[in-house]
Amino acid sequence: MGNANIMAIPPLGSHELGTEAIPSDHYSSQAFFEQEKEHIFKKTWLMAGRESDVAEHGDFITFFIDALETSIIVTRDKNGQVNAFYNACTHRGAHILNEPCGRAKFMTCGFHGWVFDSEGKLADVPGEELFGDFDKSKLGLKKVSVDVWGGFVFINLDPEPSVSLKEYLKPLNESYDKYLGNKDWTWSYGWRSKFNANWKLLVDAQIEGYHVDQTHRNTIAGAIPGANAPADVYPDSIGVPARVCAYRPEQMAGVQTDVALLSAKHGATSLYTKSENEFSADDGEGVLNEDHPLWIFDAYLLFPNVVLFIQKGQILVQRTLPVSPGECFWEVDFFHTGEVEDFGQLFNSEQGRIQIRDVLTEDLYTAEGIQMNFNAGVIKEVYINQQEIPIRAYYHRLMSAMKGTGESK
């Protein structure tokens, strides 16, 4: 390997992350979960949507945090500003919007018809005179902190977040913001599922390379050897604790099928087959590791619940959101540039989509069994090796957030 150092992993115990076993009760404890709701889901920046889904005045998306029984509306107002509000009519508390997305320059509550504009102001009240002394200007929708980075809308339930989104996401710099925010990226496909597992287990499964050789022995074995999945930790970052990277082996092992090779002639959407096509990273200086011939992707952990995969020609976003200590929603979404116009591109897209689907079924296979063992108290601590250091960095960040220390770094 010409760039041997690129495969380096931080040594055990580096960055004050320690070497001790990690307790498992933070995956199963109701008390810990209640604290997570307070200190994490009410205090950190959460990816709520894609800015392009609120491109025009009146466009809206809704975002649910089930564990908090909280629904958020994100809108684009007439001044071009992105706003976020609690999805709660200030009359008697009904949800105003129930669709995941749509367009409504004025949002009308289905209960009694109170109308709010896209800035959240109460615009009309049927039978207003029935309320007597009444000040509409004080009854706008309750605001939620919101910002946009990399084309993604993030919300924060803290009315005054202690750090800006930009600060939160360091070391991801302006290049990442521009690259990911490129308007050419369009949502291609995605899946959503519900698991009987703690929300963090679905994150853990994606942020280390140690599992690859065994977990994926029936799919991509050889395409990304575990040893070619180095990791980095960012101890000074508030919102990006770690990343894991993936490189092809110099000698491709495993099965490269005729179908995969045919697919590679027509695009770059498969993670596991080197594309014969090129993809340029406009405004993304340094984002793609294009200098390395074997690089496939970098996957960044965006605390608390997103793993963002960046590769040539594709962005992949995995999100989990908790319902209860042992229950969560998991979803994955893919973004590509350009429309699929001819059959070669469609074939490539289909092959890539099916390969990643089958790989993901393996990634998702272990979480529910682990959860059962944690719930039963059979496993009280877990052991994290050098290659799994992103999990240690994730745990470290989790605990600092629970103490309320991480946000004020």
């Binding site: 949507g49 889904d53 599922s193 045919l262 059959f343 469609l346 092959q351 079924t361």
Partner: protein
């Protein structure tokens, strides 16, 4: 303009094409999961020799223009992506070391909450 690519002769595998030319990825997934390995192999090895020519032929048209027998042929070609792992890696119709693929419910957009 480059010369038009002639449609490959697939008359000898018409039966297999008819069985697997299902409209959506999900349809083809269910078909694979409910098939035997003999059925999957029969389809795969019938299609494989002709697949490069089929892709080249179909690739000369805009997707929106594919219709009739060509649309059917395109769906059968896409089914080759669905059976690939079963044929070469699993040797069985369903992966035994993963969750049921049908638990992953297709979304219609980034904000879609298809499962509530």
């Amino acid at each position: 303009m480059s010369q038009a690519i002639a449609r490959p002769d697939v008359s000898d595998i018409e039966v297999e094409i008819n069985l697997w030319a299902l409209p959506t990825t999900e349809d083809r997934l269910v078909k694979r999961m409910n098939s035997t390995m003999d059925e999957i192999n029969s389809f795969h090895y019938a299609m494989l020799p002709k697949l490069p020519a089929i892709i080249d032929y179909l690739n000369q048209f805009k997707l929106a223009d594919l219709a009739g027998d060509d649309l059917k042929l395109s769906r059968a070609a896409l089914a080759m992506c669905e059976v690939d792992n079963a044929v070469y890696k699993w040797k069985t119709p369903v992966l035994s070391t993963g969750i049921d693929s049908l638990r992953m419910v297709k979304k219609s957009g980034f904000s879609d909450r298809v499962i509530l």
